[in-house]
Amino acid sequence: MSRPDLAVEVRGLVKRFGDVEAVRGIDLDVLAGETFGFLGPNGAGKSTTISMLCTLLRPDAGSARVAGHDAVTERDDVRRNIGLVFQDPTLDGYLTAEQNLKFHAELYGVPKAVVPERMRLVLEMVGLWERRGSLVQTYSGGMKRRLEIARGLLHAPRVLFLDEPTVGLDPQTRASIWRYIEELKAQEDITIFVTTHYMDEAEHADRIAIMDQGKIIALDTPAALKASVGKDRVQLQVDDADAAIAALRERFDLEATIAEGHVTVAVDGGEAFVPRVFAELGVPIRGVSVARPSLDDVFMSYTGTTIRDAEAGGGPDPIMRMMAGRH
């Protein structure tokens, strides 16, 4: 029943914590060799799902096969074939990087003969080979994360799970983490399953699943997801915003709003709209920008809320609400 071309095969997976249904019956196929992005706000059920795939949590219903093995009945086989990088660090700061890796190699039964070579390969990949003799507690946050990625790869897993690998890192380090992941894809025959709640990062994935409130609400390539949202966002810089909004309503039948200080409208085919708006608006325009839909827009269109608002508890920002109450 298991298909060899699938790295992860999930059917009707459910997990409850007391009365709360954290994962509400999800289906998911991840192809061998792809980078699969798992997207959603904090609390959507991403980590719970990953924990079940990694055999750390027992599902209440449904099944999951990872790297060809059942996550419940063939636990150790799954564990040997996956690499894990958690949100929170799981390194021993009192050991050196090399000792941390040796511990891992032994625990996973990596043959002694290949350990030195393998260790060098993964440490060089993340640029920590020179620092292998330092105690991990002397590492920066970004270095620790890189070391965790190296460790997750040490036993040559078929699937690498990265749970929020860039959370809490500065933008430069975040970019470098993604660079390592891409290099890794070029070098090894590996499937990558990565969760994130940074929409921009999901662009790195071949396919994306968006999870919200325990369910998968969309699953496709980033391009297809964005195309499904359709409209481009056009922003106009004008001196008289009210006149521009009125003119857009009259002449183009478009409802414009003010976002980030600019008059903003959603249209099909943004580039073609630009010359028309200059010709026909009748209000002086000082500047214009056209933006393709982002994954933020995708998330917005599927859930009716932005990912930041979803994390704040579904409603508008409490500070904004308070300010609104003063009017």
């Binding site: 990694c54 055999t55 750390l56 636990r75 150790d76 086989d77 564990r79 040997r80 894990l84 958690f86 929170d88 660090p89 799981t90 390194l91 021993d92 700061g93 009192y94 050991l95 000792q99 511990f103 891992h104 032994e106 625990l107 996973y108 039964g109 990596v110 043959p111 290949v114 070579e117 393998r118 390969l121 036993h155 040559a156 070098q187 090894e188 025959d189």
Partner: protein, 291 residues
């Protein structure tokens, strides 16, 4: 399978076929966890010093201070000599507790997860911890044992070996005892407070610091229930074997353990410790599996 895919020759991936599950994998698990305990212990010099300090304070400060008023009851034996086996037990005791505490620490800093997701049985991780705790604690015990001449205890090969074996066993039991709690407690402060609350009474009641003769009835009962009693008494027997004691001193200081008037043989006392150790290890493993 000819020429399926071509790879850049610059970075040929190392083919890794990891070992299958089974007792070998579990044995490796025991070994790496044990090794890590040793590395950690060696790095933590402060811990080596602090856990030695306590038995030394008891031996020389308390023992030295009370020697005069206690001299009437020790039949001519120096109180420090009498307390020496107790100090040997203490050295092991506190170090073993620290080893168990590292489970709490590992959880707090996340390393526990690295062990929990590994393809080895959780029992092997607990066993590795306990053997590691026993090893480092016995090392501490050896340092205290080196002080024997200062308290008029002569060395003999038999004494050193017996004491070492008993210390290993005691340390193993105490690490298992500590891990049993440590799996459930998520905060270091809470664990330390709990251990203070449990361990100090166990230590006092065990007779590490006083002879078992002429105890009040309730204390005698508690003493027989304390698993430590059955490790401390054989330790004392081993140390005192090399001393030249008068029959009166032997009767006062080394009355042995009795159950309802029956003299419990040393082998059975050690057997009790082994039984406790296995029971505690089993409970610790069961707790760990649920963690």
């Amino acid at each position: 399978m000819a020429a399926t895919t071509t790879r850049p020759a610059a970075a040929p991936p190392v083919r890794v076929v990891v070992a299958p599950a089974g007792w070998r994998a579990d044995l490796r698990g025991v070994k790496v966890v044990w090794q890590r305990e040793l590395i950690r212990f060696w790095r933590d010099r402060l811990r080596i010093v602090t856990s030695l300090l306590q038995p030394l304070i008891f031996l020389f400060v308390l023992g030295g201070g009370l020697a005069n008023i206690a001299s009437g009851g020790t039949e001519g034996v120096d109180l420090r000599t009498f307390m020496f086996p107790g100090a040997l037990a203490m050295a092991v005791f506190f170090t073993a507790m620290f080893s168990a505490a590292s489970v709490v620490w590992d959880r707090e800093y996340g390393f526990l997860r690295e062990m929990l997701v590994a393809p080895v049985r959780r029992g092997s991780i607990v066993l590795g911890k306990c053997i590691g705790g026993a090893t480092v604690a016995s090392f501490q015990g050896l340092i205290v044992m080196a002080l024997a001449p200062l308290v008029h205890v002569p060395y003999s090969a038999a004494m050193v070996l017996e004491v070492l074996a008993l210390q290993l066993l005691l340390a193993f039991m105490m690490t298992a005892f500590g891990v049993m709690f440590a799996v459930r407690v998520t905060q270091m402060q809470a664990f330390m407070a709990l251990m203070q609350m449990v361990v100090t009474p166990l230590l006092f009641i065990s007779g590490a610091l006083f002879p078992l003769s002429g105890l009040p009835g309730w204390l005698a009962v508690l003493n027989r229930l304390d698993p430590l009693t059955y490790a401390v008494n054989p330790l004392r027997e081993a140390v005192f074997a090399g001393l030249d004691l008068t029959p009166a001193a032997k009767a006062a200081l080394l009355p042995g353990i009795t159950w309802f008037g029956w003299q419990v043989p040393i082998a059975l006392q050690v057997g009790v410790v082994v039984a406790f150790a296995i029971a505690m290890l089993s409970i610790a493993i069961a707790q760990f599996k649920r963690a």
